[in-house]
Symmetry: C2
Amino acid sequence: MKAQNSKQINSLYEREKRKINTQLQNLFKNKKPQSLYSPTSYILKNGGKRIRPMLVLFSAKAVGGSFERVKHAAIAVELLHSFSLVHDDIMDNADKRRNLLTLHKKYDLSTAILAGDSLLSIAYQELLKDLNKNTKSSIEIFTKALIEVCEGQSYDKDFETNNNVSLTDYKLMIKKKTAALTEMCCQLGAILGGGGKEQINSLKLFGRHLGFAFQIRDDLLDITAEENKFGKVLGGDLIEGKKTFLLLKALELAKANDKKFLLKLIKDKGTSTKNVIKYKDIYLRLGILDLAEKEVENNTNRALKQLNYLNNREKEKLIWLADHLLNRKN
Amino acid sequence: MKAQNSKQINSLYEREKRKINTQLQNLFKNKKPQSLYSPTSYILKNGGKRIRPMLVLFSAKAVGGSFERVKHAAIAVELLHSFSLVHDDIMDNADKRRNLLTLHKKYDLSTAILAGDSLLSIAYQELLKDLNKNTKSSIEIFTKALIEVCEGQSYDKDFETNNNVSLTDYKLMIKKKTAALTEMCCQLGAILGGGGKEQINSLKLFGRHLGFAFQIRDDLLDITAEENKFGKVLGGDLIEGKKTFLLLKALELAKANDKKFLLKLIKDKGTSTKNVIKYKDIYLRLGILDLAEKEVENNTNRALKQLNYLNNREKEKLIWLADHLLNRKN
């Protein structure tokens, strides 16, 4: 992509992100009860990347539609995503997200449960605003993604106590927890943007592969990110004993003492901060980081290949977004 | 209503209830992950009255439709109701419901949150199965009810710490927490049953007034029910300091020492079991139980009046259901 184009798309992305943030804030303005809508509003101020709404917008464009036609659907997917974050943070007992207190820490458990429920209910309400035709199929795919997100979270929770998680298990989990949502965003954008059957299918698969790449990049960033951005602790996944792509791949390849040391982390359900560097050494020795990079690359290529089936020049925006996400540093 | 008819409808109700229970159990059979679907299945075994599905079925019939046409919608409203119970029980820190351990007590907090989310997601999936036309309006009213249930629960939570709740506040709360759902059930049944605009509106209002009557009957039963059925403690609302119709009406009418004693319960956020009888005495002295009975009656009459606009004989089933619910002893 030409630098010029890239710069233009970047400005567009920033502009649309601001619009989305404004829309999100306006959603709950002056709405009662305040005890419900003030917390929901709070959580939407966290300044995320708004990737999922952007996938809806750019997918609509890629099939010849307009942003205008899918702007509520874009909000709906962000609300669905936020709902899952709020409830996941309770389950993970997380104190902070993106340097802000999580909802159950800022308020209390009841408020957080109910605010999550409310985000989901408003998600459906917003989605309905963009539905005139294809109503049933749109609600169907939105609901299917929601079901998969719940199932994915359940698998993820199971992993905490299951010491025999395989890479295959892991892939099923991220398929549901992450890829199902990005897949739905692209599919929904394509449907509402007026795409044909094959265009919709291509974009759906684009979203799915992108989701895989995105999650594995996330696993990698846990140990390679520039520290302290967005309040993430480097090696946090190791400290918590999370069964990530890196850890599971390392377990497959490690031998002798390395294997013992990895199994200890599994058994102890985590490790101390000072050990992070030791585990990183094992990863480096076994070439895990390169393998993960390769996995990100493969999934990205699979995603981009799907765009070959589209002949609209607007698909450049999706190529840019994929690049932007998968080469991110945090 | 003739005794003969009443008996027939009662058998029909029992038969349909069994069918609903079977459908609910089959929903999650062999579904994975088990860690998610086994708890959701557990909570649906609690043997509730299945009033809300029955409202859907009977409303469809009352406009000339068939049970067959709305059987998934009937399941959907029960799932929505169950979702709200599971999350409410967490917020209320309730140990038991209908003599069974609540989900967060039987399993744990995370499982209960996620099972609730899942029940809601499957609710939409089920509803979609009955939608061919009127898809948008059906999803709209379903979502509107969901939003109101969340808002109602938020008001209810606010009441716990607000010592100045009025009867008007209370009515807004039960409108959202209870009546919005029964209203939606009847409206949905009427729409999917193929009813005309006026029939739909009559049934919607029938459902709303019935919801009010139902909730006030519930408040009354707290102090008048046959003890120990379904594991409810007599006077439980007083012990917990819940702002019910009874308590708020009593606060309006009480003077001198009675008023002081009532305010003490508000201030202390509840009372001891041995004081229940004293509060019941105040209620009796002030005629609160009669006033509440009158309120149930008025709302029931408002509901039944709406059925005058329907000329289908099948409306007898709704009359029977209203009678069955509002004259219940527990």
